[in-house]
Amino acid sequence: MFAYLVRRLAYAVPILIGVNLLTFYLFFVVNSPDDMARLHLGVKRVTPEAIEKWKTERGYDKPLLYNADADAAGRLTDTIFFEKSLRLFAFDFGRSDDDRDIGRDIRQRMWPSLAIAIPVLLVGLLIEITFALLMAFFRGTYVDVSGVVLCVILMSVSAMFYIIGGQFLLGKLLRLMPISGYDTGLNAIKFLVLPVIIGVASGIGTGSRLYRSFFLEEAGKDFVRTARAKGLKEAHVLFRHVLRNALVPIVTGVVAVLPLLFMGSLLLESFFAIPGLGSYTIDAINRQDFAIVRAMVFLGSVLYIIGLILVDLAYTVVDPRVRLS
C-alpha cells in the first residue's frame, strides 16, 4: 500500500513536468514576452522603452532558458524558465501581472469556492441517486421511460440557460433571494442558496441518467436474480444488493472530482459574483493576466493527479476485492 502510493506519486512528477513544459512553451516560446507586453499596453502606447519597462517590472526581461551573463548557478536560475515555471513546483506562484500575490489570493478565494461546490455536490448526489433509484425501481414502465426522456431534455439545456433563467425567475420575478453577491461568515448563506439550487438543477439530467445505467447494470447480474429467487422484497433487493454494488462506480467517480472542487465553478461563480477561484480564473482570462492563468493550470493538474490517486485508494476501501500492488 505505502510502496504503491510512493510509486504513484513518483509517476505524478513526470506528468507535472510535462504540464509545466507545455505551459512554458505556450506562454513564452510561441509568443514572446514582447508580444504580451504589446497586447497589454495597447497599440497606441507601444514604444520600445515602454515594452522594456513592462517586462522589467514583471521579471520577463531575463533570457528564457540560459543566462550567459550571470555567474555559476545563476546561469540556470536567473532565467524566465526557472523563475516563472520551476518555482511552481514549490507552490510559489509568484506575483500576478498587476502585482498581486497569487498564492495569497488562492488561499483566500478557495473558501467561497468550496462553500458552493460542496453543497452542490452533496445535494446533487442525493437527488440524482434518489431519482435514478426510482427509475430503476420502475424500469421498463412509463415512469422509467418518461424519467429518461426528462433527463435527456434536462441534459439538452445549456448551463447558461439554467443560470440566467434561475436568476431571472427566482431572483428577479419572485424576489426570493439576492441575484448575486457575497458576504462573509453566516451572512453568506442567503447568497449561496440560489447558485446551489441552479448548480444542482443543471446536473440532474446527466447524473441521474448515468446512475440509472449503473443501477440497471447491477440489476441484470446473477446475484440479484438469486436475491429475488430467494423471495426478497424488491425494495430490499434494490437497497441491499443493487445500490450497494452500484455505489462502487458512483463513489469512485465522486472521489475523482473531489480535489477539483477547490478550483470552483467558472460559470456559477462569475454569474453570481462570488469571489472564488472560478471567478478569479475568468477574471484573469478576461484581463489576460498570464501569470494567474499559468498558476491555475499548474494547480489544476496537481489536483487532477491527486484525484487519480484518491480513486485508486477509494477502490480498495469500497470494494474489498481490489488490492493495490
Binding site: G18, N31, D35, S156, I164, G220, M296, S301, Y304, L308
Partner: protein
C-alpha cells in the same frame, strides 16, 4: 461577377460531407453495416431527430458557401474591387432580413419600437411616444386595427402551403411504399394508423410536415415582421440565430474530426504495440487530461489573440479572421477531447489483440500493418462512431460556455454563445428584453435534443455490449 470565398471551415465541412456520403454509399451495400442503421431508424424518436438534424445541416451547408459582391464603383483600368462583406448563399436566400435593421430593440412581431422616443410635432410640442418601426409591420396602415387580420391571413397562408406540400409528399411516399412492397394501398394506409406497428416513414412524414409548417410560417411572417424581434443595434434576432446554426455545427463536427485520425492511430498503437509505445502515449494523454480543459483552451486562444493582433496583414476580412479563430477553437477543443477516445481505443485494441482471429492472422504471417488495417480497425470503428456522435451535443453546449468565458468564437461571429452572452445584460434591463435569449434557446435546444436522442439510438444499435443483455 461575384467572387467565391472559400473559408477553411467551409472546405473542411464540405470535405466532411463528401466523406459521409462515400461512407453512406459504401455502407448501403454491406448488410452488416445496414442492419444497425436500420435499427437506429426504426426508432421513432431517432428517425424524427434525424430529420431535424438534416434540416439543421442543410441550413449550415447553405451558410457555408461564401462569396463577395463586386463594388459598384470600380477602380480604373477595369479592375474590379470587392466589398469587404463576405456573404453566404443563406444570406442571399434570407434576402432582405439581413439588411432591414431598426434603430434599436423591438419585441417579436412588434410594429413599434421597444423604447420611447421624443418626437417633435408640427406645433412645436414635444411628446415621448413609441415610434413605428421602419420595416416591421410597415405594410399596415393602422397597426391597431390591421395587425390581427394580417397575422391571421399570413398564418392561414402558411397552413395552406404546408397542407399542400406535405400532402403531395405523403402521396409520393405512399406510392413509393406501395410500389416497393407490392401490397395494396389500403393495407399500407391501415398499417400506418396510430397504435399500429407504424413504419418509421410515418413519423418522418409528420416531422417533415412540422418543419415545413415552421418554414412556411417563417417565410410568411419574416417577410413583413421581425419574428423574434430585434437586438440592441436593431438587427433581426431570427436572422442571427439562423446564422448561428453554422457555428454550432462546425464546432460539433469539425472538432472531433480534426483529431480523429490522430486519436485512432495513437489509441490502436498503444493497445497493439504495448511496451514503451504504450507508456509514452499513456503519458501524453494523462498529461493533456490533467490540465483543466477550459484553462488549456483559454491559454491557447489568448496566444492566438496575441498572434492575430501582431499579424493583422494576414487576414483580408473580419470574416476570415473570425474563421481562423473558429478553426483554431475546433483544433484546440479537439486536442482536449481526443484523449477519451484514445483511451477507449487502447482498451479495445488490448482486448482484440488477444482474440483468436488475430492470433490466427499472426500465425499466418500477416504483417502488423495488415492486422491493424484489416482486423483491428474495422472492429473498433463502432467505438469511434459512438464517440463522435455522443460528443456532438456536448461540444455545441461547450461553445456557449466558452464564448461566455471570452475564449470562444470571435465576438463578431454569429453564435448562440454570443447571443446568450449579450442576453445576460438584456435580462437585467427594465423592462426586460427576453427574445434574444428565447430565440437562441429554442434553436439550440432543438439541435442538442435531437442530437442527444439520435446519439442514444446510435449507441444502442452499435454497442455490442448492449446486445448481450
Amino acid at each position: 461577377m461575384i467572387r467565391p470565398v472559400v473559408l477553411w471551415t467551409d472546405a473542411l465541412l464540405y470535405l466532411l460531407v463528401v466523406v459521409v456520403l462515400v461512407i453512406f454509399f459504401y455502407a448501403r451495400r454491406q448488410p452488416h453495416l445496414r442492419a444497425p442503421w436500420r435499427q437506429v431508424l426504426s426508432r421513432r424518436l431517432a428517425s424524427a431527430s434525424a430529420v431535424i438534424l438534416l434540416a439543421y445541416v442543410l441550413i449550415g451547408l447553405l451558410d457555408s458557401l461564401h462569396y463577395r459582391l463586386p463594388l459598384k464603383d470600380n477602380g480604373e483600368g477595369g479592375e474590379v474591387h470587392y466589398a469587404v462583406e463576405v456573404l453566404s448563399v443563406l444570406d442571399y436566400l434570407l434576402g432582405p432580413i439581413r439588411t432591414r435593421t431598426e434603430k434599436t430593440y423591438s419585441a417579436p412581431m412588434a410594429t413599434h419600437l421597444y423604447t420611447k422616443e421624443a418626437v417633435q410635432h408640427a406645433d412645436g410640442v414635444q411628446t415621448r411616444v413609441y415610434p413605428r418601426l421602419e420595416y416591421g409591420g410597415r405594410q399596415l396602415r393602422d397597426p391597431e386595427r390591421d395587425f390581427r387580420p394580417d397575422v391571421l391571413r399570413r398564418a392561414a397562408t402558411a397552413l395552406l402551403e404546408t397542407a399542400l406540400v406535405s400532402s403531395l409528399l405523403l402521396a409520393w411516399m405512399v406510392r413509393r411504399q406501395a410500389n416497393r412492397s407490392q401490397r395494396p394501398l389500403r393495407v399500407i394506409l391501415r398499417e400506418s394508423l396510430p397504435g399500429r406497428r407504424a413504419p418509421p416513414w410515418m413519423v418522418i412524414w409528420i416531422t417533415v410536415s412540422v418543419l415545413l409548417l415552421l418554414f412556411f410560417l417563417a417565410v410568411n411572417f419574416a417577410a413583413a415582421y421581425h419574428v423574434f424581434g430585434t437586438d440592441k443595434v436593431g438587427q433581426d434576432v431570427f436572422y442571427q440565430s439562423l446564422k448561428s446554426i453554422r457555428t454550432g455545427l462546425v464546432i460539433g463536427t469539425l472538432t472531433t474530426l480534426v483529431m480523429l485520425p490522430f486519436a485512432i492511430l495513437m489509441g490502436i498503437m498503444a493497445g497493439y504495440a504495448r511496451g514503451w509505445i504504450d507508456d509514452v502515449i499513456q503519458y501524453l494523454y494523462t498529461t493533456l487530461n490533467s490540465i483543466p480543459h477550459v484553462l488549456l483552451i483559454a491559454a491557447a486562444i489568448l496566444m492566438l489573440q496575441v498572434y492575430i493582433a501582431n499579424h493583422p496583414e494576414q487576414f483580408e476580412t473580419t470574416v476570415e479572421r473570425a474563421d481562423i479563430r473558429l478553426l483554431f477553437l475546433c483544433i484546440i477543443l479537439g486536442i482536449t477531447s481526443w484523449t477519451g477516445l484514445c483511451r477507449l481505443l487502447r482498451g479495445e485494441a488490448l482486448k482484440l489483440r488477444e482474440s483468436e482471429y488475430i492470433q490466427a492472422a499472426v500465425s499466418y504471417g500477416a504483417s502488423h500493418a495488415r492486422i491493424i488495417a484489416q482486423h483491428i480497425l474495422p472492429n473498433v470503428m463502432h467505438v469511434v462512431l459512438i464517440t463522435v456522435v455522443l460528443d456532438f451535443s456536448g461540444l455545441v453546449l461547450a461553445e456557449a460556455v466558452l464564448s461566455y468565458v471570452g475564449v470562444g468564437v470571435d465576438p463578431t461571429m454569429n453564435s448562440w454563445g454570443n447571443m446568450i452572452n449579450s442576453a445576460r445584460l438584456e435580462m437585467a434591463r427594465e423592462p426586460v428584453v427576453w427574445w434574444s435569449l428565447l430565440s437562441a434557446f429554442l434553436l439550440m435546444f432543438a439541435l442538442v435534443l435531437a442530437a442527444n436522442l439520435f446519439s442514444d439510438a446510435v449507441r444502442d444499435a452499435f454497442d455490442p455490449r448492449l446486445h448481450e443483455r
